[in-house]
């Protein structure tokens, strides 16, 4: 081994050997994540700590009570607002429209809306709401004609270690599904509204592909249909 006197030089030279160019894959996946997780308005963002803030010292100590006071003031304002509002009068809501154009509230979502490819029938969408923070991408698969999946459960299989395929069947009416992925991504709930009006009685398949940032095992995934 080289003498210890030039240890720093040898270590520096050795560390300088090696790759400096990053492949596109991690960048592309991160950008996909950004596109599928658009920034949401954060009304209390100014209260969140700066990740590079210096530790509170000296004059900076005065900032901590200021933040606590601001938080208390916000809480108080919220309580007052709820109190002034009082009990809400009961309102009779109209039945949901059967128009093919969904209402604004129906599409107001914080997730990814996937237009499902269907072999027959009306358009289908699924609103994927991810609470785990591990979902990178959601897209539709390509089902074949007819019904191959069960209509009362969801079949889950791995396409690769990080990617799941979800398959289920339903009537070919227009349906806006919702898939909620819990804090634990292995726990999901599929909300499937019933068909309205007359529809074909032959079921058609839906396939949804979910790509996660970390491995997920299909056999460990539990999906509840509502």
């Amino acid at each position: 081994m080289t003498t210890l006197n030039d240890f720093d030089r040898v270590l520096g030279e050795w560390l300088n050997e090696g790759p400096n160019r990053v492949p596109d894959r991690p960048i592309d996946l991160a950008v996909e994540h950004a596109r599928s997780h658009p920034r949401r308005p954060d009304p209390i963002g100014f209260l969140r700590p700066d990740p590079m803030a210096r530790p509170f010292r000296g004059l900076g100590m005065s900032l901590r009570p200021a933040m606590i006071l601001a938080t208390l003031a916000l809480l108080l304002a919220a309580v007052v607002a709820i109190g002034v509002g009082g009990p809400k009068p009961s309102v009779v809501l109209p039945n949901p429209s059967s128009s093919p154009n969904p209402s604004p509230t129906a599409t107001a979502s914080t997730g990814i809306i996937v237009d499902l490819t269907v072999a027959a029938g009306q358009p289908q969408t699924v609103d994927v709401i991810d609470e785990s923070g591990t979902l990178l991408q959601a897209s539709s698969g390509s089902p074949t004609d007819g019904q191959g999946f069960p209509s009362d459960s969801v079949e889950v299989m791995n396409i690769d270690a990080n990617t799941l395929q979800l398959g289920w069947a339903g009537y070919p009416c227009r349906t806006d599904h919702e898939l909620r992925i819990g804090n634990d991504p292995r726990v999901m709930t599929l909300v499937r509204p019933p068909c309205e009006g007359v529809t074909d009685s032959i079921g058609v398949d839906r396939i949804l592909i979910l790509h996660f940032s970390e491995p997920i095992v299909a056999a460990e995934v539990a999906i509840t249909i509502q």
Binding site: M1, T2, L4, F7, D8, V10, L11, G12, E13, W14, L15, N16, E17, G18, P19, N20, R21, V22, P23, R25, P26, I27, L29, A30, V31, H33, A34, R35, H37, P38, R39, D42, G45, R48, P49, D50, P51, M52, A53, G133, S213
Partner: protein, 185 residues
């Protein structure tokens, strides 16, 4: 240019984030690779770092602190990857065909030196590797290292001292083993 991209990405412009990610990821990958000594683990660490940058960027008040913050994130991701890898056991390392491996700058340096360094370095904890990489590869001062790691300068100095000592001890132990094997052969 970078400051402009940081501010636009902070406002939620994905195009700006795309450009920013491509601008900084080489630097992040270089640091992650040198801590982890594994191409694929380094890719994962960079991906996690970039995702955290997107998610947390609005909280960064001062865009001038972006570089230090991203060093902090990539060090954390790399340490987490190293721990995960340790729990998962040994892996087979394959180098992608397009990997950019620079030739050794000193043709006369014994290959044994590099092999010994590789073995010795791998014996260090991920935190020790990180602090050595920040100083000897990224060329950061003790104050900068302390800022990146979010620790007092004195603590950074102490950690650097112990990391250096641990590496030297690992190299000396490795040298003794090689010598003993030589005598047995």
């Amino acid at each position: 240019m970078q400051r402009d991209l940081v501010e636009r990405a902070r406002r939620g412009e994905t195009e700006a984030f795309d450009a920013l990610a491509r601008l900084v990821s080489g630097r992040l990958f270089a640091v992650a690779y040198r801590i982890l000594r594994d191409h694929y683990l380094a890719e994962d660490a960079v991906q996690q770092t970039l995702i955290t940058i997107w998610n947390e960027l609005p909280r960064l008040r001062d865009p001038e602190r972006f570089d230090a913050w991203t060093y902090r994130l990539v060090v954390r991701s790399s340490v987490a990857e190293a721990r995960r890898e340790r729990r998962g056991g040994a892996s087979i390392q394959l180098l992608p065909e397009d990997a950019d491996v620079s030739p050794p700058p000193d043709q006369y340096r014994a290959v044994a030196d590099r092999d010994q360094l590789e073995r010795g370095f791998r014996r260090l904890t991920p935190e020790q590797r990180a602090i050595l990489v920040l100083q000897h590869y990224a060329g950061q001062s003790l104050a900068e290292i302390a800022d990146v790691l979010g620790i007092p300068v004195g603590t950074a100095g102490s950690r650097l001292h112990y990391a250096t000592r641990a590496l030297r001890a690992a190299l000396e132990a490795d040298g003794r083993n090689v010598a003993a094997e030589g005598r047995l052969a």
